[in-house]
Symmetry: C2
Subunit: 223 residues, 2 copies
């Protein structure tokens, strides 16, 4: 199968980077075809403005959704780096996002990737949401790390439940454009893992990935 | 009172910009002192990495939380633009974020502002969360616009309820560091407003702001 792995972490020695490398290695070993988007390495610009397009629909008043629809009509007149990323998303059978939870959401560099890539007219399309979304038939999974421990991310925990924190992404973006969403891979307090614990988690991730295509999808439908 | 208004929109003709200007004008008229953070105008860099600090705790392995704690100990050795923004947040009695909901979350430029500004050791502090948080006594409000209509952002609506979408911010960041959170100002389908409707909404916002300090805070505690 074809797999896109998106990484948002600035440190090559980080646990996130190790999870990313483990995914690449494991999935290649199992014969999958891999493409990657290492956002910090690419120096990806997350600020969304007119530079995301090579055409202009209205030079007088920037309405991004209008420009997005226009770009879709104009043979996808997005900026080259945006087009490349959009094509990777459309190419894959499975998309993995590997990121640390910063301030209860993905790092800005990943948020900006979603701002620029998941455009109206190409991904979000009238009459084609959820079960009939443009990305129908593809799977997606968030692989998330935290600083705080697991018990703080439960319904009655200090921060509230992780499913609720991730739901705007899992439901609002991924499921809405048609992805079948898999249970998020969540690893907590990763900065405090010992070498042995770290290797155990990486091994668990590797084992999970072997059978990732036979996992059931989760319900992200209702709050 | 002292009020900080943070804006994240690239278009000066936008409804968001009009809401921002209305807030400035109204609050000044009522004798408040205003500071602003217009993120696109400032060309704010939302990518969080080592450049957020002027000191280094560990040059070999970047762990951002460790660097944050270290910077707090080293007389706040954050990058100058970060320090300026942190001081604005600490200065204000009320903080308003004015932004469009893009891909079910704030624009990356605002997400990155939270990544870089709300650091551990200065805002998130052990033993000082929620009721005893560092920002205790201050109020905060999100003023959000959407493309989709209001009925899609209800519990049984197409996208799920807006309170759930905003909860990671209202609870995870604002309430967690001690802000008393006010009911979000939500305006839907703003691209489709007529001139008359637009003026009506702006007038409503202006009226709301007059009594903003007497509004009750909302419960963001539980999912």
């Amino acid at each position: 199968m074809k797999i896109l792995i998106v990484l948002a972490h600035p440190e090559a020695k980080s646990f996130n980077y190790a999870m990313y490398q483990t995914a690449i290695k494991t999935l290649k070993e199992y014969g999958h075809e891999i493409k990657v988007t290492d956002l910090y390495y690419m120096n990806f610009n997350p600020v969304y403005d007119r530079s995301n397009f090579t055409t202009i629909k209205n030079s007088d008043f920037l309405k991004l959704q209008i420009e997005e629809m226009h770009a879709a009509e104009m043979d996808n007149s997005y900026a080259p780096e945006t087009k490349t990323e959009q094509e990777k998303v459309e190419w894959c059978d499975l998309m993995i996002w590997q990121f640390p939870l910063w301030r209860f959401a993905p790092p800005a560099i990943l948020k900006g990737w979603t701002d620029r890539i998941f455009t109206s007219g190409r991904f979000f399309k009238d009459g084609g949401y959820y079960e009939s979304g443009t990305m129908k038939g593809k799977k997606a999974i968030l692989s998330v790390t935290t600083g705080s421990p697991a018990e703080t991310y439960t319904k009655d925990g200090f921060h509230g439940d992780m499913a609720g924190i991730l739901r705007p992404i899992n439901r609002g973006i991924l499921a809405c454009v048609g992805f079948s969403v898999l249970e998020s891979e969540t690893n907590y307090s990763v900065a405090h893992l010992t070498e042995v614990e770290r290797n155990t988690v990486l091994e668990k991730w590797s084992i999970r990935l072997k059978n990732i295509f036979s996992e059931p999808t989760i319900n992200v439908g209702k709050y």
